[in-house]
Every structure is written in structure tokens, then in C-alpha cells.
């Protein structure tokens, strides 16, 4: 589904990603872990098509298409979804209207008729139950004055509404208390399906107690330095990142 080959990316002339390789097949859940500043959000942004980042080398194919050639919005319409680490507030635009626009833009791209009000409402009701989101939240301006937990829940709700092929979740667990974490994780689990892949970016392994990944990768200093099965996450939890990163720093200094 997604094949990332030797991606290098810069911001303001500084290289942040230094050769990333990653293969994700339909139905798989991959976790990317790593210390702060290692480039996790950068990788998510590059895949989603944020213009500030310059890809200097490498290739990405997504569902058989050259991802880097697609505009940001077309990547989304093709089925790539990013749950943001820091969702932005858009005053004056209600969450419902925003999601409706998103759903219908995607349908238009796929050559489908826009959803009528009744069908859209029905879909909203279904998906709201999935992430236990409050209806009142959806009539408010998107993310404006939402608590951290509400913002994250709203991201997962949008993911449910947009039914992506590949969902990238950037620290969707951060800033959540244990109850909120459970609800969000449950929502995500319900959205797992054989033709949907997920890439979970997380700093802590606690999210992985709820969502069991098929593969775990450690990102450090712009490179994936170790990959393994879900046991790797437990090992990281136990020994900390240092047990991997020390070796690398040592090797780099020699």
C-alpha cells in the first residue's frame, strides 16, 4: 500500500529525514517510536504533503501512485489521513460543515455524488458512537476552545468519517488521561480493517497496550534504526531509548 524508499527531507536547508525506508501492506498496523525531535512528525508531514518540507531524495508510492507528485488535497482524497499532533483551530467554521466539505470534496474527486443532508446525518450518527463524541462539540467551530482530549477525539472522528486507506496518527495518545486514551484507542481499534493500514506515531508505549501493532520501528535522528514485532515496544519501555540510541551515537562518533 505504502512504500517509502530512502526519503531525505529538509526544512530551512537542514536535513531532518536522512533516508527513511518503510513498507506498509493493507490491514497492517505499524508503530513508529522515538525520542522527541527525532523526525516523527516530519515524516508524517512529508507523507501528507506539507509544503515547507523539501524532499531532496527518495520516492514514495501509495496505492500504486507516485505520492510525491500528488497535491496535498489529492493525497487526502486518495485515502491518506493524518491525525494531527496539534490540530489547529478554525474560528467560524463549524466542525460539521468542515467535515461535510471534506467528505464531499473526496466524493467529487472519486466521481461520486455529494451526500445529501439525510445520508450525511446518518453517517455522522454512526461514527459519533464509535468515538463517543458529543454532538454539541460538532456544532462548534472546529477545534476552537476544545480541550486536548476533545481535539484528539475529533481527529479520530474525522478519520472515521473519511474512511481512509492509510491513517497516520501523530501522537494521538499524548495529552490524554487514561479514560480518554481508552476511548480513543477503542475508536481506532474499531476502525481497523483488512484493507486499511495504520501508522501510529507515539512517544510512549502505553498506546500500544490498547492497540497492538504488527510492526514497531524506532526512528532516531532521521533514520529508522531498528524494526521489529510488538515485543520491541516492550523492550523499549523497559530499557528506554538509550539502549538503542547509545549504540548509534557511539557508532556515529567513531
Amino acid at each position: 500500500m505504502l512504500s517509502v524508499k530512502n526519503i531525505h527531507a529538509n526544512i530551512d536547508g537542514r536535513e531532518i529525514l536522512k533516508g527513511i525506508n518503510l513498507d506498509i501492506k493493507p490491514g497492517e498496523v505499524h508503530a513508529i517510536m522515538g525520542p522527541n525531535g527525532s523526525g516523527k512528525s516530519t515524516l508524517a508531514s512529508v507523507l501528507a504533503g506539507r509544503e515547507e518540507y523539501e524532499v531532496t531524495e527518495g520516492a514514495v508510492s501509495f496505492l500504486g501512485k507516485d505520492l510525491l507528485e500528488l497535491s496535498t488535497e489529492d493525497r487526502a482524497r486518495e485515502g491518506l489521513f493524518l491525525a494531527f499532533q496539534y490540530p489547529v483551530e478554525i474560528p467560524g467554521v463549524s466542525t460539521t460543515n468542515f467535515i461535510k466539505a471534506a467528505v464531499n470534496e473526496k466524493r467529487k474527486y472519486l466521481g461520486q455524488e455529494p451526500l445529501d443532508a439525510v445520508a450525511f446525518l446518518k453517517m455522522m450518527k454512526e461514527k459519533m458512537a464509535l468515538v463517543e463524541i458529543d454532538q454539541r462539540l460538532l456544532s462548534r467551530s472546529i477545534n476552537e476552545g476544545f480541550s486536548g482530549g476533545e481535539k484528539k477525539r475529533n481527529e479520530v472522528f474525522q478519520m472515521a468519517m473519511l474512511e481512509p486507506k492509510l491513517a497516520i496518527m501523530d501522537e494521538t495518545d499524548s495529552g490524554l488521561d487514561i479514560d480518554a486514551l481508552r476511548i480513543v484507542a477503542n475508536g481506532i481499534n474499531k476502525l481497523r480493517s483488512p484493507d486499511r493500514a495504520m501508522l501510529l506515531i507515539t512517544h510512549y508505549q502505553r498506546l500500544l497496550d490498547y492497540i497492538h501493532p504488527d510492526f514497531v520501528h524506532v526512528l532516531y535522528n532521521g533514520r529508522i534504526v531498528k524494526s521489529g514485532k510488538k515485543e520491541l515496544a516492550l523492550e523499549l519501555e523497559e530499557k528506554g531509548y538509550d539502549f538503542i540510541t547509545d549504540d548509534i551515537d557511539l557508532a556515529a562518533n567513531q
Binding site: S71, A76, V88, P91, G92, F98, E105, K106, Y109, S141
Partner: protein
């Protein structure tokens, strides 16, 4: 690597869609302004002596005045001798209805989206059409006159209802009010006249469509609306002009009178040619609009959607004279490229228990400057006067400016004046968020702007709300890329 484009900047670039010129036989007088020009205009309109005298008085006063400098706008010196003060499409014959108008004219308005054919037109909307200096025709006149409503051009009102015109003309905006009002009083050519008799609720929207066509012509329109006791009227004006490199002057005066328990709702969708993306050309729009809530429990509500003009200088105001009277001002001003808008309102509370409400939404893009200027005044007698003002600015990009100049003068201790202001900016972060959801930048900006302007747009009469929304979307096209 390709240059990273400023997405917002790209999206604001757009073509003005009403910029064509109609090739029509026009009666044009020579450029220049003097007593003779005024005599000529007055004689062409076959005016009574008193009106000519009034005009000449205004002209002589104007000569003593200086152009106001206090607004936050910059423009080269206007040469008032280089303007044509009268230009009129030559009528083939006297028109009895719009359907008889010159096909070229009908086609022009068809192209502007205004169908003048009565059968095809929006039911429930009567239209007066003014091209350059004259009113071409007014629809539904007869139906309206059956219930006593007078809706015609001001020129016609001068002929048919001189006593009303004489009583009210200049009674709210005196000829000495300001530089542009004096100029208008001297040279005004046409505009609309509405009179709603006592107890009548006008059953249709009354509207005027203003079109500038002739090169170098100024448009000096004059509108007068009188609502007698317990009457109601909703009036709307729209306007466009051709694309030209030279600036053209539009200096209008609008006067409203609401008697006891009367209500006037006045809406404007202003889309004069704004100039090109380098700031070349465009209309200078210097307008004085004022209403008086003369009787107790009367109400005047101004709603404006301003997207056009190179320069807008305009402060629709209300004098709240009657006790318990209400004044409202709802405004959306969108400026792009090098447009400059200095607009707002003046609420003058004289009566007891008067209330006013101001909602101003300024949207700036490109290199434009958008200023809100408002004055709320409560006199000594204005016991329990209340005002609430809200001024919000939205910036698209970082080369434009938004400014707020609220002035408050309160002389009565029981008066309460509240003012709130916010400034926000559409940022690249917000656009990225939208694009990541499959919403392209242009649609995203439209969503954000519509959300921002909603409270004002909701005030427009239903028939026009959709049009205004489209206009806003067109004006913004290209605001983001």
C-alpha cells in the same frame, strides 16, 4: 527546487467579471464643473427653479470646502474639472415598462445577472435601474402605486411629487454636511425615491441597480426613502462598473427617514470595479448615507457587503431621535490587491431608551488596507441609551492591513456602550489542515470567510443572500492557491 509559492497570495488573484462596456448611444456633456454645468444638468432634467437654486447654493458652498484628509486612505489628487458630470443613454422613446427598453441595455443588465424582463424577474422584487446619470426604468411601479407606495427615480419624483422632495431633500444630510455631500448636492443626477405611506408594509423588496458605463463619467446618485408611521420597507442597492485604467468617481448621498414605529431595512451589495491587481484603475467611492429614526419606536438597519471600489469612504449612520428607536449597522468589507476601505458607522443617540448595534467584519487580502471607523455618541438626553459594537478583522496573508478606530462620546451617565474587537489571520497551518482533509485552499478560504461573515450575511434579504455569498466567493477567488 521550485519557488515555494505563497498559497494565500495566489488564491486572491481574480478577474473582475463585470468589467465590460456597453456600446450605446449616450448623451454626454463636456468635462468640467462650473455653475454652467449645474444649470445644464438642471435644464436637461427640466427641474423647478428652487432645485436649481439649491444646487447652486451647494456648489458655492463646496467651493469653500477642502477634501477631507482624516480617513486612512491614500490617492492622488482628484481633478474635478476632468470629470463628466452628466452622461445618459439616449432613450429611443419614453418607456412605459422595462420591457420596452433598448435591447442593448436589456442585454447589459442580463449579463450582469439582473433580468429586467418583468416576467422572468424575481417575484417580490421591484427594480429601478440607473445607468450613468439617469434612471432607465423602474419595474412594478403600478402595482406598488395601488397601495400608495411610490417607487421611482428621484428625477421623476422631482416632477411628480415635488412637495415631498422639497420637504425631505437635504433634511438628513444637509448640503453643507461634508465635501462630497456638497458636491453631490450640486451635481446629483439620478437615484431612487421611495415613499411608503402610513401603515403600509411594502409587499416587495425595492431595489436599485447602479451601473457606470461611460468613460470619465462620475456618478452622483441621490436616494431618498421616507417611511411614514407604522410602515415597513426593505430596500437593496447593487452596483458595478467597467474595467478601466483611470479611476472614476462615485459620490452618492442616501437619506432615510423613519417616522413613528416605521422600519427601514437598507441593504447594499457594493461591487464597483476595484482596480487591477497592481492597483490601477477602480472606482473612488465616497458616499454619505444617513438615516433618522424620527419617531418613537422606529428602526433603521443598514447592511452592507462591500467587495468593490479602489477606495471606499462610507459611514452609513443613524440618528436615533425618537425614544425607543433602534439603529443597526451590519457590514462585511472585503479588500484585495491594492484596495482601500475606510468604512464604519455613526450612531447618534438623542432619544431615551435608544439602542444601537454595530457588527463589522473586515476581510483584507493582498496589499489592501481595511479600516473600521465608528462613532457612538450619546447626548445628555439619551437616558438609558445602549450600544453594542463588535469589530472583527480577518487577514489573508501578511501584506495587508486591518485597522479599527472606534470613537465613543457619552454625555449621559445611564448610557452603556460596549465595544469588542478581534483580529485573526488565515494561516498556512489552517490551510494545511484543510488540504489534508481534501479541501483545496480556495474552498478552505471560502469556508473560513463565509463562517467569519455569516452573522452579517444572514441579515441580507433572502433573495440576495445567495448572490452576495457568490460575490464574496468570486472576489476572493485566487485569495489562496
Amino acid at each position: 527546487m521550485k519557488e515555494k509559492p505563497d498559497t494565500l497570495e495566489q488564491a486572491v488573484l481574480t478577474e473582475y467579471k463585470y468589467g465590460f462596456v456597453t456600446d450605446i448611444d449616450t448623451d454626454v456633456i463636456a468635462k468640467g464643473l462650473s455653475e454652467n454645468t449645474i444649470r445644464l444638468i438642471s435644464s436637461k432634467k427640466n427641474e423647478p427653479e428652487w432645485l436649481l437654486d439649491w444646487r447652486l447654493k451647494a456648489y458655492n458652498h463646496w467651493l469653500k470646502l477642502e477634501e477631507p484628509k482624516w480617513a486612512n486612505i491614500k490617492y492622488p489628487i482628484i481633478n474635478y474639472q476632468d470629470i463628466i458630470y452628466y452622461a445618459a443613454p439616449k432613450p429611443k422613446k419614453q418607456l412605459n415598462s422595462l420591457d420596452e427598453a433598448d435591447p442593448e441595455l436589456l442585454a447589459t443588465f442580463e449579463k450582469l445577472g439582473i433580468s429586467l424582463n418583468e416576467q422572468k424577474r424575481l417575484t417580490g422584487v421591484a427594480v429601478d435601474v440607473v445607468m450613468d446619470s439617469v434612471s432607465i426604468a423602474t419595474s412594478f411601479k403600478e402595482q406598488l402605486s395601488e397601495i400608495g407606495v411610490i417607487f421611482c427615480s428621484i428625477s421623476e419624483a422631482v416632477q411628480l411629487h415635488p412637495e415631498l422632495v422639497k420637504q425631505y431633500l437635504g433634511s438628513i444630510v444637509p448640503m453643507t454636511d461634508n465635501y462630497f455631500a456638497a458636491l453631490n448636492s450640486a451635481v446629483f443626477t439620478d437615484g431612487s425615491f421611495c415613499y411608503i405611506p402610513k401603515g403600509v408594509r411594502c409587499p416587495m423588496e425595492l431595489s436599485t441597480y447602479f451601473r457606470i458605463n461611460t468613460e470619465n463619467a462620475g456618478q452622483f446618485e441621490r436616494t431618498l426613502i421616507i417611511a411614514e408611521d407604522e410602515s415597513y420597507v426593505s430596500y437593496l442597492e447593487g452596483c458595478t462598473a467597467p474595467t478601466r485604467d483611470e479611476n472614476q468617481l462615485h459620490a452618492a448621498v442616501v437619506e432615510l427617514v423613519a417616522h413613528t414605529k416605521a422600519e427601514i431595512k437598507y441593504s447594499t451589495v457594493q461591487n464597483w470595479y476595484p482596480g487591477d491587481k497592481n492597483g490601477m484603475g477602480g472606482i473612488y467611492n465616497f458616499v454619505t448615507k444617513r438615516g433618522i429614526c424620527k419617531g418613537d419606536h422606529s428602526k433603521i438597519s443598514w447592511t452592507q457587503v462591500e467587495t468593490g471600489s479602489a477606495i471606499t469612504w462610507k459611514y452609513p449612520s443613524v440618528i436615533l431621535k425618537g425614544d425607543y428607536s433602534i439603529g443597526e449597522f451590519y457590514s462585511v468589507a472585503f479588500t484585495n490587491n491594492h484596495q482601500q476601505a475606510d468604512t464604519g458607522t455613526k450612531m447618534t443617540h438623542l432619544g431615551k431608551n435608544t439602542r444601537s448595534r454595530i457588527v463589522s467584519k473586515g476581510i483584507s487580502a493582498g496589499h489592501s488596507q481595511n479600516s473600521y471607523r465608528g462613532l457612538v455618541r450619546a447626548s445628555k438626553q439619551a437616558t438609558n441609551a445602549r450600544n453594542y459594537s463588535q469589530c472583527d478583522s480577518l487577514l489573508l496573508g501578511d501584506k495587508c492591513g486591518a485597522h479599527t478606530f472606534p470613537y465613543i462620546e457619552v454625555k449621559n451617565k445611564t448610557a452603556i456602550v460596549e465595544h469588542e474587537a478581534t483580529t485573526s489571520k488565515i494561516g498556512e497551518d489552517q490551510l494545511f489542515y484543510c488540504k489534508q482533509r481534501g479541501i483545496d485552499a480556495e474552498t478552505a478560504v471560502a469556508l473560513i470567510v463565509n463562517g467569519f461573515a455569516k452573522e452579517v450575511m444572514n441579515q441580507l434579504p433572502m433573495e440576495f443572500a445567495v448572490e452576495a455569498q457568490k460575490l464574496l466567493a468570486i472576489s476572493m477567488e485566487g485569495s489562496v492557491g
